[in-house]
Amino acid sequence: MDTPMLTLRAVTKTHNEGEENACTALHDIDLSLEGRGVTVLRGPSGSGKSTLLSLVGCLSRPTSGRIHLRDPETAEVRDISALPERFLTLLRRRTFGFVFQSFNLIHGLSALENVMLPAYPLGQGRREIITRATAWLERLDVAHKARTPVELLSGGEVQRVAIARAMVNDPPVLIADEPTANLDSDLVRRFLEIVARFRDEGRMVLMTSHDPRVWESVSVDRVVTLRDGRIAGDEPGPASPARQGGGGAP
């Protein structure tokens, strides 16, 4: 079996540590994530799902414990628990694409400009970035809105632009925080179709959700349940060979 892409060992995260309003969001988390497939983190609000995503996605560092990341290009495993921000940023750029809750596109900029933003620090030519961003917009059926300011887009278009932005640097891992919150069934279905395509391409998708439509989706390989900052369950999803009777552990 391959080395897991991400391994968390006894990870604890306390926000505002040492201050009066300190709050421990995660306690002693042990978790391994493979380099492909769709994993859903589920649980009620405040259970620590988003905090776990931010740790996995190199957006923050754990208060204690270790996180190891396997470099998708070199297969080298590195401890990223205490890396300086600059190195975390470089890793984040290469490895992860993010779709945030409410998508967090930058208003006033066009869809194309939003999609191009993660590619700016890489130092590629402008034309090359435009070509790649447009290709992603085309792939997600929203290229006709490339020049439209994002505040004028519909909910579904905003969602697809946010996914295009996450994928413009071609990351092996897509991280999505409550991507289907406030979306109607049709948009949830379209999102899950896109996720299934990424899964089929061999990418890893990690998302939080407390939406049963997501974790019961046929493209989900694994469902990890969080409660009060601890892992309360870890079971195969509908797409897992274990659930389909093919055997094998998630």
Partner: protein
Amino acid sequence: MIRWFRVQVLMIDYTLASMARRKARNLGLLLVYAAILFVLASVTLFTGALREEAVRALVGAPEVTVQRMVMGRHALIDRDGLEALRAIRGVQWAEGRLWGYFYDTANGANYTMIVPSGGIVPSGGREAVAYGAPPEPGFVRIGGGVARSRGVAPGDWLFLLNPQGRLFKLRVEAVFPSASELVSADLVVLSEADFRAFHTLPEGVFTDLALGVRNPREITTIVEKAALVLPDCRFITRRDILRTYDALFDWREGILLALMGGAILAFMILAWDKASGQSPEERREIGILKAIGWETGEVIRARLWESALVSLFAFLAGYLLAYLHVFFFSAGLLRPVLQGWAVLYPEIHLTPRIDGARVLTLFLLTVGPYVAATLVPIWRAAVVDPDTVMR
């Protein structure tokens, strides 16, 4: 290097798109900034050009001017002094000059009356304009300011009442061209006979003496010798006059810039406030940029580009407008302050000229502090944790 350059181009691209979203705020800032730069650049360009004109006017002036002093006041000097100076070794030539001021009660203006040396004294300053043979008795050549205020043209009569109340009727032979108006506006050039008659001046006395020396490096020595021969005289070298002009314009420029200090300070506070008053929307944007892979340094650079572009554009716009104001509109807004008071204002057409060192100084003193003032608040906003967008 190419990568760095590409990143900067993309950052500017993003910055311009970002600035376009806050058009009113950025435009307002740009206008205030450009207005301040316009005034500062106008002051430096105008005083610089006036200095240049003064230097040009004095290029051919006599190396030394000798003036007799009585009780600390400038007094007439007689022919004996002239002969004594001619006898000093190293003196190339010495001539008596006739010039003076006249207050015209008809229009409340002061004229400068001068008798040209007939080519003996080298041309410089007012003499440069009045160079050549003196007019015939009964004729005058006048400056543009005099012609305008008295409404006369070549061929007309100019009537003047001398201080004793005697009427002089002089025919205007010529009006000096406007190109020389900085030094000729109030000039009335007349013959020696008319000058002496008008001012009731006896023969054998002069307003002052002009001195030429063979070797300019000997000026100090010659002045020392001359001071022994004419102890009641003061000796003004060309360098002294230039220094006086410099001091005068420096002082006027300094006064104006000091008054501007308050406005500059207010603008710096505005710039600081603008940069530190990052709205929640802007903070959120910085959080998003960091989450999607921008480093703190890249966020700071993008914001600094915004400051740099605003200040650069304001600098160019302000400087260009100041250039037009000074050299094409004769610095209409600054003349009363910097040029001093006069009834007969010359119509100045200053020679367009830019001093690279002064441009650089102004650039560094305006763009530099603005960018620096915005750096700290930008840095404080840019160190936001990238996971804020997940909370």
